[in-house]
């Protein structure tokens, strides 16, 4: 019973120190390096260069 009343709410249970996985960050940095936006006649084309 006591446990029920003293349980923190759902939002309070979120650990503020949560961080994304390293591989996600690595993917984003690789994506950023690979993405190239090419301007052609006022048009922008995206190209992923691997």
């Amino acid at each position: 019973m006591q446990k029920m009343y003293f349980e923190t709410s759902r939002s309070e249970r979120v650990n503020k120190n949560l961080v994304p996985k390293e591989e996600t960050i690595k993917f984003l940095l690789d994506y950023s390096k690979a993405l190239s936006v090419i301007d052609y006649n006022k048009l922008k084309f995206e190209a992923l260069l691997n």
Binding site: N17, L28, V37
Partner: protein
């Protein structure tokens, strides 16, 4: 240290000019805040990971296209993107509703198995025993018809044939058997509920 001294605006500007390391600093600086924000809405590590990734893919694309106008509002802008993606996620999920088993709502509170638990089995056994004892109090002809009808599940036609009385007599005996059972139950205040 570049991470501490350079403002978001400077990093965004440098990234838009082609400095790849700036995006790394921006992500490292804000990853915890953005990821925690997403997780606080979706409560699923994998979904939060996906939304975080999609958020920065949008950020990277927009910055590389030069479509971002820096007004010192980088982090509110990124938060807005992630917020919109969280909404998209819930919209998609609403089309395919699922039950999450968290402490706020437990699916097993509305679903129950039909089988009886130990306590209910005991009560059922006691009730059946009480009914058998009361039946023994009935006059023999009524008891016979009731036993055939209820326990042997015989039709009144078969009962009449076996007991050698008419169907109407068998029906009458059954009727009186039930009336008398109710009387005994009322008289002794017997509770027959499961």
């Amino acid at each position: 240290m570049i991470e501490n001294k350079t403002t978001d605006a400077q990093l965004v500007s440098a990234y838009m000019k082609g400095d790849e390391s700036s995006i790394s600093v921006l992500i490292t600086r804000h990853k915890q805040r953005i990821y925690s924000f997403i997780y606080s809405k979706v409560f699923d590590r994998d979904v939060a990971e996906d939304i975080f990734q999609d958020t920065f893919i949008k950020v990277i694309k927009t910055l590389k296209r030069g479509a971002y106008n820096e007004e010192g509002k980088f982090i509110p802008w990124v938060m807005r993107i992630s917020h919109n993606l969280v909404i998209d996620h819930f919209r998609k999920n609403n089309r395919m509703p699922k039950f999450e088993n968290n402490t706020d709502f437990n699916i097993f509170s509305v679903l129950s198995d039909g089988s009886l638990n130990a306590e209910k089995k005991m009560i059922k056994g006691q009730v059946e025993e009480d009914v058998r004892r009361i039946i023994q109090e009935l006059p023999e002809d009524q008891k016979e018809v009731l036993m055939m009808r209820v326990y042997k599940e015989m039709s009144f036609k078969d009962i009449s044939e076996q007991t050698g009385v008419s169907i109407n007599t068998a029906l009458g005996r059954m009727r009186y058997a039930l009336i008398n059972l109710r009387k005994v139950i009322d008289k002794h205040n017997i509770v027959l509920t499961n």
